[in-house]
Symmetry: C2
DNA sequence: GATTATTCATTGCATTTGCAATAACTTAGT
DNA sequence: ACTAAGTTATTGCAAATGCAATGAATAATC
């Protein structure tokens, strides 16, 4: 049953190559676009939470977020209660670019599953959901 | 339908983190173990073929293979017909370590799909196969 | 058969990556 | 209240990464 884990890996790497190429012009290569999308959709996560939600190493995530803050895509805010936490929000530039990121993700996603019927797509979605927990 | 592409990405990154940690002691981190497994199973691919089969950048793949050759895991052979090609084979060390890599991949794979029934696993496998081409 | 276009391996270089370690802070246990 | 254990963000550093470019070999086209 290796095919599953192998196919999943190949699809991810292929997708990342294309998406990074697409968003390099915006300074959002190296998976940086992921952070903008996720932060837009779920604002206020702290750094570690954000990193865990996309399964990326925390130190890598930290540096990418820093860069995105410097570039005006994201914004950090200290948590009021817990002084260790820094929560992440989109800044103007991040909000402005979200629709484009979203559209491209949709396009990529649609293209990926274009060989499947609608029922098969639903099936696949449900099966994968069982894997992530 | 984003969930599909997002879940697939998260699963891949999580899997890679664990597998790299497992095989660092053998000098097979950074996805290096993938090359040994694939080469063992399909000997004689040329470098570009091998890279494409796992969807990894060719220059990265090239350097990883070089390192694996230096470390005694793989072996390169010039193609007789086409002087551009260098074909990849496992060396002693690669063959020796294959069973362990294989077992770990099986373990990881089994654990990943452990929430699914056998029929669901078959379904998932078939659905994913449709995505890769 | 000469020329053009592809395809391959390889290198240069700047950037990214991630393990390991640290300091600040919070939680749990006594 | 105090201590120990766990969690967070952060930095250092060596190694990996990947885009761009090059040269060599082959394939395609004229």
């Amino acid at each position: 049953m290796f095919e599953i884990i192998r196919d999943i890996g190949a699809i991810t790497r292929q997708t990342e190559i294309k998406t990074n190429a697409e968003f390099r012009r915006l300074g959002l290569a190296n998976n940086a676009f992921i952070y903008v999308i996720r932060t837009y959709e779920k604002p206020g996560m702290f750094l570690g939470q954000l990193a865990d939600s996309v399964q990326i190493d925390r130190t890598t995530a930290f540096r990418t977020v820093q860069k995105l803050v410097d570039n005006g895509y994201l914004r950090l805010e200290d948590d009021a209660k817990d002084k260790r936490l820094r929560r992440v929000y989109v800044a103007q530039k991040g909000a402005a670019v979200y629709p484009e990121l979203h559209a491209f993700e949709k396009h990529t996603s649609d293209r990926l599953v274009s060989q499947l019927t609608v029922e098969e797509q639903t099936q696949l979605k449900q099966l994968l959901a069982k894997l992530v927990y």
